[in-house]
């Protein structure tokens, strides 16, 4: 095809994007009950081209290993965008009925957003049902449907922990806080001792951090939602506890409230404005590359706890590979998603070369992975710390079927209240109202908790 013409038709598709053209697009695959090994073998020997949209750097390595194992299947990797832009493009392509990828990167929190619109292929008939034992329990719960469906294959996770500046802690005689209460005391003491330094930064519009914090506190705001029935309870006692805690520290001025991943925040991290970063298992390597000037000064520890003696954590981030049911090659796509996330060589490379924190039991127990000593953390075995944290994440946490909207509403209500020092607990009710109103508008039957 003439490339100029192709560009033109591409533009046409883009213009038509928000339009309801799905009727003329491809019909979704009806997943069979079971796919036999013979059918899989046949498909994997049929020359096929798969489209894979991902933002994961260096994924070419896993793709090459897959193509080596299945020389007849070629995989085209596209990095369309990361995060919101990625999903907007996928949704647009899915609505247009063509141009959507066969396989895509999907964060755990976005899996229900694609199952509610009936776009993900249940991977059970293609052998994914048997993979459960290889994955950590709470991770598997994140990709499982209420009927036992397997909506995606986990690739990496982000159990939450605390990275702290050992030098600042030592200089001010602060001990690693085991509880949030001790954390608050340390925040006050540190800021009083040195007004330039904050024990941590609470990013008021970082809904993912807040969701992970709710997870740790035992809140499960959307737990029990199924299909058109939505349960919403963001005003639970646990949620209020978390909100009051951060709103209180922010109002006292003993934690900063800079937006994270902004220039301001990167500079502050390099210049020692924050003594801790409450983050996830992908944080250590990320920090290493963005705050290089502070090498050797950081250490890792689990999050402080709400109840003394507990050991629980939430999760922040991580992603999966899902297959869209508009694919013309369901078998090849499903096998690909499973292969790159379970093949020992693929997953090992992800964990040790691409630094994606693994969701598989095998790697979390692999001394070669857990024993890695990171110079940036003074030679600490950081992976071991997070591997232990991963065991303490609760499997009871469900994402809403429109997480992006819930996040935006969080920023406009609770996040803004904490940043501006207005009543954050009242803002929780606003958040709840906004979610309920939106859900009802989208046709859900809403049941509000507490």
């Amino acid at each position: 095809m003439n490339p100029r013409f192709r560009r033109r038709t591409g533009l046409g598709a883009a213009l038509a994007s928000p339009l309801a053209f799905s009727a003329c697009g491809r019909r979704p695959v009806q997943p069979p009950e079971h796919v036999s090994q013979a059918e899989i073998d046949e498909a994997m020997h049929t020359p096929t081209e798969l489209n894979f949209w991902t933002w994961v750097p260096g994924i070419e390595k896993q793709v090459a290993l897959f193509e080596e194992a299945y020389p007849d299947v070629k995989v085209d990797v596209t990095n369309a965008a990361q995060g919101a832009g990625h999903y907007a493009k996928i949704r647009t392509a899915l609505r247009a009925g063509r141009g959507a990828p066969d396989v895509a990167q999907i964060e755990y929190e976005m899996v229900p957003a694609f199952t509610i619109t009936d776009h993900l292929l249940d991977l059970r008939p293609y052998g994914a049902g048997e993979l459960e034992d290889q994955f950590v329990e709470w991770v598997w719960a994140q990709v499982s449907g209420p009927g036992g469906e397997v909506w995606a294959i986990p690739q990496d996770t982000g159990p939450m922990g605390m990275l702290y500046r050992a030098d600042i802690f030592e200089a001010h005689g602060i001990e690693v806080p085991a509880t949030w209460e001790a954390f608050a005391d340390a925040a006050r003491a540190l800021h009083e001792a040195d007004p330039e330094v904050y024990l941590t930064n609470f990013p008021p519009s970082q809904g993912a951090f807040f969701a992970g914090s709710l997870w740790q506190a035992g809140a499960d705001p959307f737990g029990g939602s199924e299909g058109a029935d939505l349960k919403v309870d963001v005003t639970s006692e646990a949620a209020q506890r978390v909100t009051e805690f951060w709103a209180g520290l922010a109002a006292e001025g003993v934690v900063s409230t800079d937006p994270d991943f902004s220039d301001q925040w990167y500079q502050a991290a390099n210049r020692g404005k924050y003594a801790t970063w409450l983050t996830a298992a992908w944080g250590p390597v990320f920090l290493q590359s963005t705050a290089a000037s502070t090498s050797g000064k950081w250490r890792a520890a689990p999050l402080p706890q709400w109840e003394s003696g507990d050991q629980v954590a939430g999760n922040w981030g991580g992603s999966t590979n899902g297959v869209f049911n508009i694919t013309e090659h369901p078998i090849q796509a499903a096998v690909f998603a499973q292969f790159i996330n379970t093949d020992p060589e693929c997953t090992k490379a992800m964990a040790t070369e691409q630094f994606l924190f693994p969701p598989t039991k095998a790697l979390l127990e692999d001394p070669e992975f857990t024993g890695m000593e990171l110079e940036f953390y003074g030679g600490q075995k950081v992976n071991e710390v997070f591997a232990q944290i991963s065991e303490t994440v609760s499997p009871d946490f469900q994402w809403p079927p429109f997480n992006d909207q819930v996040r935006a509403d969080y920023g406009a209500t609770v996040g803004t209240a904490i940043a501006e020092g207005s009543d954050a607990v009242a803002a929780l009710s606003d958040w709840q109202d906004r979610i309920a109103e939106y859900a009802e508008f989208q046709g859900f039957t809403v049941e509000e908790g507490s």
Partner: protein, 315 residues
């Protein structure tokens, strides 16, 4: 066209002859050639502009839900838009922006254009280029750059204030944000408006200046009584562009959002609101309706502005 049908249709010969006689024998062929010349534009215009616009208008009459599918709802989306407090607040904000930013920018542009035209300025080419330069910077880059300058802890302005022992104003805070954005837009577009006004000034016939100087008018008097009145059409044009630009404000707040996510919320400007409705809330139909409402507001605003200036020039 009428002559064309007349030549083909079996009508009374007398009428046919008079029709032909009046319009001239070559009329139809000229008409066809004309259409052929405009065809490439019309095809592209129809395919890329009219059809999508019509489709979006049609699309805005539906409501698609996650649960329950797609239904025709008539003008429901429009009645919702006209009473939507988020949209109205956004419109109010860009209207305020227009009232503050545009006069400042226009006065600056007019001043620079008159100064350049007065031929009293040395290095006028360099000055002209320097003022125009920001327009060549993509607005996304400009917003990123200013975002860095505004930075509350480590931005150059904050550091400078720190050096002299003062506290820099919180440029990215809720109170100053609109002003900070207005500053970026002014920086970007003053040069553009200046060039438009300057070009209009260059087109003023020199006889007028000669006559004025014969009548004893000095440079200030010439500027006030001759140049500015003659610039009126160009100023009106600049103002109409500014109405459109202000109400469609998107790039600058969208970039500044990463720096102050709690100040620039999803509905900060109507365009940002429409974008977020479509790509965050998946309310594509309602987003289309909001876009049309915004379009109507801009059309009405531009029209009222032109009406007001026309009436004043007549009186």
């Amino acid at each position: 066209m009428s002559a064309d049908t007349a030549s083909e249709a079996p009508v009374a010969p007398g009428i046919s002859r008079t029709a032909k006689g009046r319009k001239g024998g070559k009329g139809p062929r000229y008409a066809k050639t004309g259409y052929l010349f405009v065809a490439p534009f019309m095809i592209a215009f129809t395919a890329m502009f009219l059809v999508p616009l019509a489709y979006a208008a049609w699309f805005s009459l539906f409501r698609e839900q996650m649960i329950g599918g797609n239904v025709f709802v008539g003008i429901d989306n429009y009645t919702r838009a006209f009473t939507d407090p988020q949209l109205i607040a956004g419109l109010g904000r860009v209207a305020l922006f227009f009232l503050i930013q545009v006069p400042v920018m226009m006065i600056l542009a007019l001043f620079f254009a008159l100064a350049l035209d007065s031929a009293l300025l040395r290095l006028s080419r360099t000055v002209r280029l320097a003022i125009f330069m920001p327009y060549a910077v993509p607005s996304v880059v400009a917003a990123l750059m200013w975002g860095f300058l505004y930075g509350p802890d480590f931005g150059p302005l904050a550091q400078l204030a720190d050096k002299i022992g003062a506290a820099a104003p919180d440029f990215l805070g809720a109170d100053l944000m609109l002003g900070s954005i207005a500053n970026i837009v002014t920086w970007e577009f003053t040069g553009y408006n200046m060039i438009l006004l300057y070009a209009a000034l260059r087109a003023v016939p020199t006889e007028l200046y000669e006559a004025a100087s014969v009548d004893g008018a000095g440079p200030w008097r010439t500027a006030w009584s001759i140049k500015i009145p003659l610039l009126r059409p160009a100023i009106v044009l600049c103002m109409v562009f500014s109405v459109i630009g202000s109400f469609q404000l998107f790039n600058e707040p969208s970039i500044m959002r990463t720096l102050a996510p709690n100040v620039i919320v999803a509905d900060y400007t109507p365009n940002l609101y429409a974008y977020n409705l479509a790509f965050v809330g998946q309310e594509y139909n309602y987003a289309a309706a909001v876009s049309f409402v915004l379009g109507f507001v801009i059309m009405a605003g531009s029209y009222l502005f032109m009406l007001a200036t026309n009436r004043r020039s007549r009186s």
